[in-house]
Symmetry: C2
Subunit: 259 residues, 2 copies
Amino acid sequence: MILIIIKPLAKGNANMSALQHAAQIDTTKISARSPLPWPVIEGGKARTEGEDALLALQRIGSTLRFKRNETIFAEGDRSGQVYKVTSGAVRTCRVLMDGRRQIVDFFLPGDFFGLDWQDVHSFSAEAIADAVIVSYPRNQIERLGETIPGVQKRLMAILCKGLALTQDHLVMLGRQTAIEKLAWFLVRKAERLHADDRPLELPMSRLDIADYLGLTIETVSRGLGELKRHRHIAIASGHRIAIRNIEELRSLANGETGD
Amino acid sequence: MILIIIKPLAKGNANMSALQHAAQIDTTKISARSPLPWPVIEGGKARTEGEDALLALQRIGSTLRFKRNETIFAEGDRSGQVYKVTSGAVRTCRVLMDGRRQIVDFFLPGDFFGLDWQDVHSFSAEAIADAVIVSYPRNQIERLGETIPGVQKRLMAILCKGLALTQDHLVMLGRQTAIEKLAWFLVRKAERLHADDRPLELPMSRLDIADYLGLTIETVSRGLGELKRHRHIAIASGHRIAIRNIEELRSLANGETGD
DNA sequence: CGCAAGTTTGACGTACATCAAGTAGTGTGG
DNA sequence: CCACACTACTTGATGTACGTCAAACTTGCG
């Protein structure tokens, strides 16, 4: 049985994790393991293509397990694999000599990463929480792209989406205030994780959030406190944050200075 | 006659402009118009592919002219074209409601832009200086990708390069100081424009630089003054800046706090 | 339960923004 | 060729958002 996952297109700042579209060419365990709220439909026009791709992918993928904070690949490593998160969470980041760190992206179950297509990784990837990762040799993926119609195009789409998301990240880092950055982060995560109003389960620490937003832990903590005081969010406990007023957050995230 | 341009791979922070690799499938006017210092070789393995692609590209491209500060496309416009800078310079940026602006990238002669492959542009593109631009309908490019072997792969490479560069930009914006940002900018431009020690011709204004680096004009001006005082650069006049000590700049740019 | 790691809160410092002149380029018309 | 205006850039004085340092509090795991 083939399942095709289609993510509803978010208006404005799309939140779709960089490589997520790729979920369209696998999908077996996703619905079983991860809390994905996107509509899941069966078969359809892409059935045959999808089936071929799925079978081929299953054949070439190998499963890996990583513990919290374990490195999946390091900056400078020769890159030849594409990875997909099955469970847990992953961050990609770069660290400067004096310890300053910038997190480039977070990846949750269903997301692909390591699609750099460069000969050497310019970032490292680490498990945020204990994670199960499937890796696919790049040349095999390439071969798949040459033999199975549509795969190439799909890869392009994934990359373009990733580029667009990274550009959003850029604007946020360059021109938004601490509170706006936090609102942006929460909105992005809320749209990625679910549409309803249960608390978000954020696997990453305050430090991870800070290094993603170009802030410090203290500023993140104070900012979350501020948003909580204004009743835009509720902090259930540590990593569980509930969105109470997503529209207000959204307008903050879009720089509408809606103090 | 077919010319293949090969850019020497920069170590560490690559400087290749996002879409520059695409120069490999055109090239006619580049050597005549722009000061490209990269080795230019003829023919080679890709000759036939390149020739096909070149001819096809020439057939589908149309030339446009823009004056300084004129808009090429705006955020929200339906996107269906891919563009290449022939002469002049282009910036892509996003502006928040209250006027804050983030420049995402600069494009110089030979660079491609607008390869978003999304249905709507999430950024606007404007001419920094009077510019001549060639535009290609995207569906034609896509068709080219389907019929001519290697084009698809080339497009992928361009996108990946663009993604990597945007990620570099991200780290800089999130974690570097004003001086480091300026050093990073100068190094990137120096590597893009030429290897020798003539002054850089920077078409963009201080405001453009500020909005690219997430700073203000005043900070950019003070930073350049500082670098000049330390003899790392010399400011010939406004837009002409000479690099005097690129190694020092490079170590600043890499966050080695070499003050 | 107890400890270590993670998070919050407070007091204070600073890098960069903001506000405000002043100066140097650049183009236009006499 | 110079006077004029206009825009771009530089420089200085001051403000502030966020970083830094430090201590208390909370959380979660053995």
